[in-house]
Subunit: 222 residues, 2 copies
């Protein structure tokens, strides 16, 4: 198997992509035209930098590609970093985008007794590891039902009274008569680096970390 | 927690939904207008049947909702049934839609020695359980890297030479210079039923199984 000499940057599809592209551009990277076509089925894109390509994958997969060394750099939320705990991911830079929080929510109509008094909870979540760990540290056993989306249906249909989900404005919770009871963690997107790549190609990887660092400070002074 | 008296039918978002709706309609179920609006953020829909609502969720989640009894009926591919092996899912009816197969693929350029001669493989897949089980039965140890999409990138970027992925026409594989080496299983969508619901509400659940059975035979004679 021939390993690509190119550096690969893994970006997450969806909401975060819109926030990250201004930074990518400021860092000096312009992807080929197809990249802006939401209907394109292409997965890998050339850029104006001869030695750098971009892949556009799901948020969880961006972390996997970088952790396994198939991508060298990536943009990953610390929700994903914490959920999977990959040892080969180095996260040198907070990009200050993708702000949200991972929170426990339950129906507005129910009594939200102090979380410290709970001993066992049943929770629907996309983040079973983080949820279990967070509550285990507080002496609460969290039984998790893994869902990939539509968490808000769980309390409505009696799957679980509680959910642990990403919350941004809180509008979705409100629309579903749910209230935010407890914040498990605050989330932003990070620039992540494959740790072995950082050792074997230090000058290239450092170069791009520096470009992204400049792009961020550029943004805050603008 | 008040349990809904309504029967809940869980349908999968995306490609399968288009194939399943003619059957749902033939079975006598017409969802409210919003259902056809792809931009609607609604998750639960009333129907012309006073006692029946539809939820539209991801394919994996449809199985989870029915397995846990939060939905009573659902449409689920046997890929999902096999991957998760839920004990409380009863699958009485093959809907004869959503035909595809779960296959092992690798780069066209590589020698695809007889799978029976392998002893260890590294595979990127959305179906780690099925992949491990399938190869374990053949004496092959499959080391799986879980991806949620974009499996075709894995061989290209050196994540794994092999992938196990859903194949329909084979067009995506071909476009990525991959060849189908071995079919793990053939897939269709099934009508599934929550097993306890089948015991506690037998006449209602049987009624809908019969309506779907009629809808299928209606389709084949049309």
């Amino acid at each position: 198997m021939e390993l690509s000499e190119k550096l690969v940057l893994a970006l997450p599809k969806g909401r975060i992509l819109k926030e990250v592209m201004p930074l990518v551009n400021k860092a000096g990277i312009i992807p080929e035209d197809d990249f802006d076509d939401p209907k394109s089925r292409k997965l890998e894109f050339d850029t104006n930098i001869q030695n750098l390509t971009i892949i556009r994958v799901r948020a969880f997969d961006a972390a996997t590609f970088v952790a396994c060394g198939a991508a060298h750099l990536g943009v990953v939320g610390n929700d994903v970093l914490q959920e999977f705990g990959y040892s080969d991911l180095y996260s040198p830079l907070d990009l200050d985008i993708g702000h949200c929080r991972l929170s426990l929510a339950m129906p507005e109509s129910e009594d939200s007794a102090d979380p410290r008094e709970w001993s066992h909870i049943r929770v629907a979540t996309k983040y079973p590891n983080m949820t279990r760990d967070y509550y285990a540290q507080r002496g609460v056993q969290a039984e998790c039902i893994k869902l990939n989306g539509a968490m808000e249906l769980a309390p409505k249909l009696g799957l679980s009274r509680r959910i642990v989900d990403l919350v941004s404005t809180g509008g979705t919770l409100k629309a579903n008569q749910l209230k935010e009871v407890e914040v498990l963690t605050h989330i932003t997107s990070r620039l992540v680096v494959n740790r072995p790549a950082f050792k074997t190609r230090p000058s290239e990887v450092s170069y791009w970390i520096d470009r992204f660092r400049e792009a961020i400070s550029d943004g805050t002074t603008a």
